[in-house]
Symmetry: C2
Subunit: 149 residues, 2 copies
C-alpha cells in the first residue's frame, strides 16, 4: 500500500521527503512485527539483541562497551538491559580481573536454551518480509547502507 494512502496524504512534493516519511512509517510497522514476535518469549527486541551479541562470543565474555557498539539500537542503556537479563537468569555479570572498570557478561545455559528456542521460530518473523523477493531485499539493504553514507 502506498505511503500516501497509509497516512492519507496527497502527493509528496519531494522524493526525499517521501522517503523520510516512508522510512519512519515502515519502521513502526517493522517494530510492531518484532514486538509481538518477541513478546511471546517474554523478551524485548533490545534484550534479545543483547543476548545474541553475548552468544556471538560464547563462551568468552563480552563487556558492556562491546555490547553497546554492536547493538542495533545504540540508545539502549546496557546496564539496565543486562539487569533485566540477570533477573531472568539468562546471563551473568562479573567484574573483569584484568581491568576492574569492566564488566564481563556471560550467557547461562538457560539463556542459550532460550535463544535456541527463539531461533527455531525466527523464520516465522522473517516470513512477514516475503512480500519482497530476496533480490529486492538485498537491493533495499544495500541502498540503506548507501543512504547512511
Amino acid at each position: 500500500m502506498r505511503i500516501e494512502d497509509e497516512i492519507q496524504q496527497r502527493e509528496f512534493t519531494d522524493d526525499y521527503r517521501r522517503l523520510l516519511v516512508n522510512l519512519l512509517f515502515t519502521n513502526n510497522w517493522v517494530n510492531q512485527q518484532q514486538l509481538s514476535f518477541f513478546k511471546q518469549f517474554g523478551l524485548t527486541q533490545q534484550q534479545h539483541n543483547v543476548l545474541s551479541i553475548v552468544r556471538g562470543q560464547h563462551p568468552s565474555p563480552v563487556c558492556f562497551g562491546d555490547i553497546q557498539n554492536r547493538m542495533v539500537d545504540r540508545n539502549s542503556n546496557v546496564t539496565r538491559l543486562v539487569d533485566k537479563l540477570i533477573e531472568k537468569g539468562y546471563v551473568t555479570r562479573d567484574i573483569c580481573a584484568a581491568n576492574r572498570r569492566m564488566i564481563e557478561v556471560r550467557l547461562t545455559p538457560k539463556g542459550l536454551e532460550k535463544l535456541t528456542q527463539i531461533d527455531s521460530y525466527l523464520p516465522q518473523l522473517l516470513e512477514r518480509f516475503h512480500n519482497l523477493s530476496s533480490e529486492e531485499a538485498v537491493l533495499v539493504s544495500n541502498l540503506l547502507d548507501k543512504l547512511r553514507g
Copy 2:
C-alpha cells in the same frame, strides 16, 4: 557503510534477516537526524507531525481520530500531544457542537508561523539523505511500500 561493519557482525545467513536489522538500524539513524533537527525548534517529531496534519485542513478543524489515522507514528497519544501543543500556543481545542464526543483542533497564527519557519529549514534536513540519487530515493520508497504489502 555496510550494516555488517556498523554492528560488527559477520555475514548474515539470511537476506531478510539482514534487511530487518538494516531497517531498524537505519531508522535509529533517521530518528537521530530528525531529533536534532526538530529540537532546535523546540518540537518533537510527533508534535511537528500533528501540527502539519492540522495545517493540512487549515482553516478547517481536525478531530483526534483523523490526526491519529494520519500520523506516521500511530502509537502516539494524540490527547497528550495536543496538550503539549496547546501549552505552546500552537493549536486550540474545542468540543465539536455537532458531535460532542469529538474535539476540534485548530491551528493558531503562532502555530502557522512556527510551521512556516520550520519549512524554510526543511531542505537542510533532507540534504542528509542526498547520498541517494532521487531515482534511488523513489526506488527505496516503492520497495518499502511493497514490503508492507
